[in-house]
Symmetry: C2
Subunit: 657 residues, 2 copies
């Protein structure tokens, strides 16, 4: 429901653009079931949205004249509540001394399949009225222009503009990510044209902008309110390297603008929830805030309802990522309840996918399929190797999830095994030292792109020998096209880190994200070709200002830095432990705080020593081949030079030969 509302907010000028995939609504007619015991008389207070009927089983009691509260004597009760809300989600809250509505309340939409209720932490709001809070912001500068004024708010934010003290004269408002966009009458992508009635006008839909141009002959006073995500980002950095700090700050702001009710791809343009974009955002989220409920919410909205008859977002890769994301969620959280909840619909997605494979078990582009991979001049016809590797990873994720909940996973294991062999047989080129890009009409071309190879290394699809060859190809083969999005750039850099090429990786972070900063970025972009500046980087889809300058995948360094520079692994034993393999050379004079499944992990480094502290979870610090135990609640400090512990509480665990 919320996903539906949020995704309906995309506009091109005054032209609304709804998602071009199926968007599911909630069931309107549901029943809640609860059993509880009262040791003394108690009054239950009900709040709800929709039309309610309350029924007690053993009393055989329809509650007539129901006024929102019921007083019951001590006893055991079995209650059934029918809720019908034609306008939205039927939602219910019950407060009593001994019984409150929680996830133990069962719910069904009249199909006999009972599920736990979702508990929604939305304070005074309800799941239907939920919205993000707003706060007033001020322009950094305002400059007169022909017929009006240009306001500069310093960086892109999601805002609502209101006008008061107006006369009944036409207003033309242009909202832009860049100055060029906001000055373009014809091509500016976000506009609001209106003539205020009764002296005021509130632009009804939030706009994402840094610049705002108001053209009118009317007097007015303007208020711009930022709609912001109030949940703080828990991750914290303090780095000596100013450039790095700046990249991190801009990435954090970029994420905060796109991290709304759901993870939106971009602030200005789509404002939709996309499976691949969200999959990457989850990787950040585990380090930035580690809000499991948020990740679950995104996954549920992406999976939608049965029946599955298209790919998620209509994109082949995006269904596969979404299946993978659930396994990763489980690895970080150990939340088997959610796996149980989502598994059936994941299986339905997988059955849809497998129903589209050919005799080799490969996916190939069929009419209406969108094979995305990445922006750029990519040939995605035929059987694309990258998609087969994702399919393998999705199959593997699904069977591991099935094993968690005791599902029948044999078929997925067989498919995965056969697929792995077939991929190696068809796509691996010993000559190129890489997986080839694709096969069309039975022939693999000679073309090599980074994608399949990056994922083959990153997800340990390739064996050690192949990985070594891929490394050389990625580093030195200039026929491999450059990546032009932070989206795939971050997977590539993760891969370089994994292969030990951290110098190259850091250099790339500095030159790619740093390059955007040099170009004037205050948020990171959807696409970046080296050398572009903010004002020269706006074109996309043949539209002069089609490109998004505040794109969630632009923030992906927020994953690379903690995961690879600090070497933090959180997805071990379902998040119940962690490992830390910092690249010592990169972390002089720095400090980082990262949320764990419980509590926080702090790493503090100076030129002389490193201190690690986890308040609630035990883990390991691994330097080279030495493993130090990190016990919860006990800081461990290491002399960088001698690698000897300064405190005595922790003990050296193990020395590799």
């Amino acid at each position: 429901m919320l996903a539906e509302k949020v995704m309906a907010r995309r506009y091109l000028r005054d032209f609304p653009i709804g998602p071009f995939w199926r968007v599911d609504s909630p069931w309107h007619n549901v029943k809640f079931y609860a059993e509880f015991t009262l040791s003394a008389e108690d009054t239950l207070y009900f709040s709800w949205e929709g039309r309610i009927s309350v029924y007690f089983y053993d009393l055989d009691k329809y509650l007539y004249g129901f006024d929102g509260k019921v007083t019951l004597p001590a006893g055991r009760y079995k209650m059934e509540i029918w809720l019908y809300n034609p306008e939205g989600l039927p939602c219910l809250k019950i407060d009593g001394k001994e019984f409150c509505s929680d996830e133990n309340v069962q719910v069904s939409y009249n199909q006999f399949q009972l599920r736990n209720s979702f508990v929604c932490d939305c304070g005074e709001m309800t799941p239907n009225t939920f919205c993000l809070p707003k706060r007033e912001i001020e322009a950094l500068s305002q400059t007169p222009c022909e017929g009006g004024t240009v306001y500069d708010y310093g960086k892109i934010r999601m805002c609502f503009a209101s006008f008061s003290g107006c006369r009944e004269l036409p207003f033309r408002c242009y909202f832009g990510e860049t100055l060029a966009e906001v000055m373009s009458d014809e091509y500016c992508e976000q506009i609001s044209f209106f003539t205020p009635a009764e002296g005021r006008y509130d632009v009804p839909v939030s706009k994402a902008f840094r610049y705002l141009r108001v053209v009118t002959d009317s007097p007015y006073s303007m208020s711009v309110k930022e709609e912001y995500n109030p949940s703080a980002q828990s991750i914290a950095f303090r780095l000596e390297n100013k450039r790095f700090m700046q990249i991190i700050e801009v990435a954090k702001h970029t994420l905060s603008v796109c991290d709304r009710e759901f993870f939106l791809d971009g602030a200005k343009r789509d404002r939709w929830l996309w499976g691949g974009d969200a999959y990457q955002a989850f990787k950040l989220e585990y380090f930035v805030s580690c809000d499991y409920a948020k990740i679950r919410r995104n996954i549920i909205a992406l999976c939608g309802k049965s029946p599955v008859v298209t790919y998620i977002n209509h994109i082949m890769d995006y269904t596969l990522y979404t299946i993978m994301s659930v396994w990763e969620y489980y690895s970080f959280s150990g939340d088997a309840e959610f796996v149980k909840y989502i598994y059936l619909i994941l299986e339905e997605h997988m059955h849809f996918v497998l129903g589209r494979t050919n005799e080799d078990g490969f996916l190939y582009k069929q009419p209406n399929d969108w094979v995305f991979v990445d922006w750029g001049d990519l040939d995605t016809d035929g059987e694309v190797c990258f998609e087969q590797i994702l399919l393998f990873l999705a199959l593997k994720s699904l069977y591991k999830l099935g094993d968690v909940i005791g599902g029948n996973t044999e078929q997925y294991k067989l498919r995965a095994k056969a697929l792995r062999a077939k991929i190696d047989e068809v796509f691996w080129s010993e000559k190129r030292g890489a997986y080839l890009h694709s096969r069309k009409e039975g022939k693999t071309g000679d073309s090599v792109t980074a994608y399949a190879n990056v994922f083959a290394v990153l997800y340990r699809f390739a064996d050690r020998e192949k990985t070594e060859k891929i490394k050389k190809t990625l580093l030195y083969d200039e026929s491999v096209p450059e990546i032009t999005t932070p989206y795939m750039q971050s997977y590539k850099l993760a891969c370089l880190f994994e292969m030990g090429e951290w110098k190259k990786a850091v250099q790339e972070i500095m030159s790619y994200w740093g390059g955007m900063l040099d170009g004037g970025a205050t948020t990171f972009w959807e696409v970046y070709h080296r050398g572009e500046t903010e004002e020269t980087s706006c074109e996309m889809y043949g539209r002069k200002f089609g490109r998004s300058h505040c794109h969630i995948w632009g923030a992906s360094v927020l994953y690379l830095i903690p995961r690879y520079i600090y070497g933090i692994c959180k997805d071990i034993a379902c998040g119940e432990t962690f490992e830390l393999r910092p690249i010592l050379a990169l972390i002089t004079d720095s400090q980082i705080e990262v949320p764990l499944k419980r509590g926080t992990l702090r790493v503090q480094a100076t030129k002389e020593k490193i201190t690690v502290f986890s308040d609630e979870i035990d883990g390991k610090l691994i330097i080279g081949d030495i493993v130090y135990a990190v016990e919860k609640g006990k800081p461990i400090t290491l002399d960088r030079r001698t690698r000897v512990k300064r405190n005595t509480a922790a003990s050296r665990l193990k020395i590799h030969s």
Copy 2:
């Protein structure tokens, strides 16, 4: 959407009772596609509900600043319209000189499957605002009672009550089908208790009642508005037999009260759309008004959306009837377009059903299944023969529908063939001369009920020899329990007519429906045990006034009379012809008009002659073994005694030996 709203109107006192099955909502985010040619400049006027985006393909033109109309020069256009309506059905109307929105406009909910649009004939209303009209009615009498007044409106109708000129004092309104119900403070099933603010109060939900008791100390003036179905019943009778005329009139009124936006089972109680009740209502509808759109609407609402995970209304028989109803609809209408539209979801229902059969191919009651058959003390555990016969008929209906649209029907044919043999093998009892009621744990009991046998005869499942035996059993075997609902009573009487036992059948109509009249009925009831009166026939479900006294299946004589007494067959050659086999002895001094697929069929009988006239369709009049052609537009008159035609336009077709 409308089905959802309508079915949410069931209340027990002030306790809302939502349907206990899944109710589907419309897709909110849809796209319409249209191609058209304008020979000259034209302006298209758009009306819509939701949020609209209009896009022209070849112009590559998003319509900015759209104000509901577009002026286009002559040319060929391809238009895409995105409509998003979070609150209901996204609906659209386009008016132009050369292009208007009709069923050629394609629509999808973003799953690539384009379908024709539905054209909704709702005048000034929209599919979302649609409601039935209202008209003021007056009480026939009013009688003081303790604390108030009882009003008698003469017969049950669906009405809204409004009060004005009130003081701010409590009102207690009781709405009843019978006097006893309306006088019962505790058990009256429909109530409205309120204290008017600002001098007036409108009871928000329509109530079905004949009597209304208002208890208050306040003065008031009351207005009761009947909500009525404005589409006239086309069927018309004029019979000499007063008793018959009275039965027909009461049946027509009963039907008119339950025939609302959908065919509701009853006016007072469920007010829901049930598959079996609707299936029978369709049989009436072909004779009463023959509104094909209404039948389609009911079938669509019953079938719901994919995925199918329960029986329709949770009732085994009701899924099977619904599949059968589509074949019958096709037989009457020849509407292959609708068959194409509905076939996929019918197949899904059938796959669900077949997934629940056992090794013999039989359906049996599983947890959560409701095997209804009929009200009464019926044992529905195990494998019920009646359900297997319905399954056979549903399979047959499905494969015939599949053959109409070129589907792959082989599997259904094989299943049907095997099932037929197995039913005969397991359930036919030569000794009893009947199909046995059921088999439990491998053993058929000795019990025989009418249901399986009636359907076996009616749908020609039983061969001639078995039919003869069944006839004897139904007529003379007193161990077969009596039927207590007009629902199954009408199938049984149809069966008697089919077996030539029309004297017995007519006698039953007179005694069963006539019996309700004798008991004081002004509408026909859900259940009738011989000898009951209106005031002694109210109990059901252990509730004193639980029974419905205005039930759609109470009107089923409206099918029996034209179909069997006048012998009108309309489902021949998809309704393009008809046959008429009147029982001459029953139609002296009478007149009937019945709608055909096109035009009307009129039969007029006196003691001397019979005249038949069809204005638009050719057919046959068959008396004994003589067949007379009835040419459209040409009345044919027959001398009853000599059976010689009085006019010369029609010719004798064929004489059987």
